[in-house]
Symmetry: C2
Amino acid sequence: MANMMFDLIKQDLEALEKQLLEAVKSPVELVTEIGTHLVTAGGKRLRPAMYFLAARCGKSYNLDRAIHLAVALEMIHMASLVHDDVIDNADTRRGKATANARWGNQLSILSGDYLFANAFYLVASNNYGTRVNTQLARLICDLSAGEIIQNKEIYTACCDVDEYYERIAWKTANFIAVSCQLGGDVAGLDEKFIDALYEYGYCIGMAFQLTDDLLDLTSDTEKLGKPAGNDILQGIATLPTIRALSVSPDKDELMNIVTNRSMTDADVARAIEIVKASDGIEFTKAKVEEFLDRARKVLPEEMPAEIREAYLMAADFIGGREF
Amino acid sequence: MANMMFDLIKQDLEALEKQLLEAVKSPVELVTEIGTHLVTAGGKRLRPAMYFLAARCGKSYNLDRAIHLAVALEMIHMASLVHDDVIDNADTRRGKATANARWGNQLSILSGDYLFANAFYLVASNNYGTRVNTQLARLICDLSAGEIIQNKEIYTACCDVDEYYERIAWKTANFIAVSCQLGGDVAGLDEKFIDALYEYGYCIGMAFQLTDDLLDLTSDTEKLGKPAGNDILQGIATLPTIRALSVSPDKDELMNIVTNRSMTDADVARAIEIVKASDGIEFTKAKVEEFLDRARKVLPEEMPAEIREAYLMAADFIGGREF
């Protein structure tokens, strides 16, 4: 995460790591072991970071009060990644062994369930109130529903640009938006301010997911911790591919590849070639910039200057990230 | 469920079915479809029934108020069954196709997540308060942890009688105990009354699980909706087997079978034969009766007579059930 942004919430993020390790401790040794593996495997902590910044927009800031919700957000994210990795049959994430590669699908499914429940336990027992509890539960409903839609349509390449936006909104953007919103809630900000934070998070989230989609096509195993073209291999057509499917002269060939459940690595490489030869990458990059611009513009005037600066840097970071 | 007990909460259970169908509705059609399949596939509704009876122990009873928590309890149960069926690779449950058999593992994992989250959403948005929210989250943590312990030790037959009790307490008894406890909470009963309800639920839950274990060995596909000896085949040593492993003259042969991941159907049949020839079945039946007696005795004096009668019938039902 960009340096200055990090400085501002450095102690928050340090506390987060400690509390995450505490939170995954269980009387059941194996639960602790899997949870610790997941926490120490790292991650950008984007959701807690967005949340902490929002929580610091209020008149006073109490880390001891704010921390539990941050931990819950990251645990929900971890839980959903654990289940995703089972679903995608992924061996590595961020270059490290996934829980399913190490402990098998069965224990991974159960560990994900444990993490979801543990997140709720943390939030429920720390009295954030009905609104926070409800938003958090709604968030996981939306997250699962988004994944369900995506999963239902693998290898069909059937969605258009607008359907795709809707899908990644459910899956990613809404999560980051709610992280910002909940920070605003904890800070006791007014509705208008909180709505702006939500909108910022939504735009940042859309840009983040689209950058993810781009990196999946343009990066390499070393930087990404997984092979390029993984989305295509998994049957998921992301925006660059969807665009190429509509404008490329080789769109029929591309369609044949992305709807083929037995596609080879060579097919994947050819699909990437077709997408790159079209304006799919540029089209997506332009959309990323559009969302980032909207994110920058929506930040309210009354936001403290150093927080605004950090949120702007987060937007720059997401626009320029390579991993 | 036994008739008189059913009469007392007939309208509650009818409302439950309606509200369950409402609760699984989602803007995502497939979510509604899977949820509806799960609800209409039926079930004993034991947890909501235990909850409703407890909720009726108070000075006044408001079904509209009580219903959401009952729906949440059954949804949590459904979610955990959906994940269990993925984990066990089960094709049928109660004689009907499982979600994983019909929609695949991936959508089933996500549907389970959706159901868990939806249960929290229902409870959070209906303001039952911190205590209820916390207990519900704790319940799913315990449930997952119990499954994790069980899963970790499949094909090892390594647990003794006391460890086994602890395991089924986490997995089953605690769930039914919390269902009773939450009913008492909603009814505004005093702590002592609620503790007694918890204890009743715990004992009933232990007896229920042990009966399940017995039925798995002694029943048939027609009654059970799954083949006999399924636990052994899945690598799970239940109480009758654990007992036989300690007292049977053929305990070495039994141990060889239950720890063999490639056991055949003939091996399973032989294992059942060995367990049946030992006192494993009688030993377990005696334990069931012990737990049921404790359940009957713990019901508090001040409990309304018709509720007490219903709880006593529930104990009889669990002792005598054949499916």
